[in-house]
């Protein structure tokens, strides 16, 4: 029973913070609301028995990616005054378009809940032991390839960030 209320509470907070990310005028406020939204999503992960993933999510998103965003916003010195705005018509059409997208997605996902349970229910799949077994047995090659991806991203970011390439 308490998990149901917790789910409603976390969902409400997640949707509200996500809306505040989009609607708040100041980019720094947007980043802070996004951190809060990520924390609520981490709460959802705990609710879904994915404890390790919740910890990784908080570390990677709230700890690394959001700090990167904040640093860039402070380097660019963005604030409320320099914020570019779209016209009212474009904003209204954006709202209508995303509302229609929501309707289409909800309608098309309507029959998806009739999933067939193939495995016996196991509450421990979110723990490190099971995830490590899957990661290093079935997904060993993608795991190694992702290290190349991260290396390439690091080199690319450094090269792009340099003031002039000699």
């Amino acid at each position: 029973m308490i998990t149901t209320y917790l789910f409603y509470f976390l969902s409400f907070l997640a949707i509200m913070f996500a809306l505040m990310v989009v609607l708040s005028k100041n980019p720094v406020h947007s980043v802070l609301y996004l951190v809060l939204a990520f924390f609520t999503i981490a709460g959802h992960y705990v609710l879904l028995n994915a404890q390790f993933l919740a910890a990784v999510h908080v570390i990677v998103y709230a700890g690394a990616i959001m700090v990167l965003f904040l640093f860039v916003i402070m380097l660019l010195n963005l604030n409320k005054e320099t914020e570019p705005h779209k016209s009212v018509w474009l904003k209204a059409s954006a709202a209508v378009a995303s509302g229609l997208l929501l309707v289409v997605l909800v309608g098309s996902l309507k029959g998806a809940e009739t999933i067939v349970q193939v495995n016996a229910f196991n509450p421990n799949i979110g723990l490190i032991e099971n995830l490590g077994q899957t990661l290093f047995h079935d997904f060993l090659l993608p795991f190694e390839v992702s290290s190349i991806l991260l290396l390439a991203a690091m080199v690319g970011a450094v090269m792009l960030g340099k003031r002039s390439i000699k």
Binding site: T4, A18, L34, I41, V72, A94, N122, P123, L131
Partner: protein
């Protein structure tokens, strides 16, 4: 229903139907799309893309938990790695754009417009 409980861990799986998770991540994804369409600041657009990635992650974790298959959660790891790489490169590009145009407005980036 109660027979499915093994161990005494609290779980959302027995009490909440998966429709609610489908609905929640659909709404979060749509808010991300709204952010991309609604704002002109490139950093906010990046944040909306992160929001969309997180909506998909949430749905992957939900289905992985409901089906008791840990492959979905491993996919979330890979999405996180790709998102981290994407954000690093994207923000570096954004810094370069700002250095050249002195603005983070994406309407400045219309050189490729036909």
């Amino acid at each position: 229903m109660r027979g499915g409980w093994r161990g005494n861990k609290m779980s959302a799986i027995q009490t909440i139907p998966i429709n609610w998770y489908l609905l929640l991540s659909t709404v979060l994804f749509t808010i991300g799309v709204l952010g991309v369409l609604f704002r002109r600041n490139a950093i906010i657009i990046f944040m909306s893309i992160e929001l969309m990635l997180n909506a998909v992650n949430l749905l992957l974790v939900a289905f992985s938990s409901y089906l008791s298959d840990s492959k979905g959660q491993v996919f979330v790891f890979f999405i996180m790695a790709v998102a981290a790489a994407e954000v690093a490169v994207g923000l570096a590009i954004l810094m370069m754009v700002y250095r050249n145009t002195k603005s983070s407005d994406i309407n400045m980036l219309n050189k490729l417009k036909w």
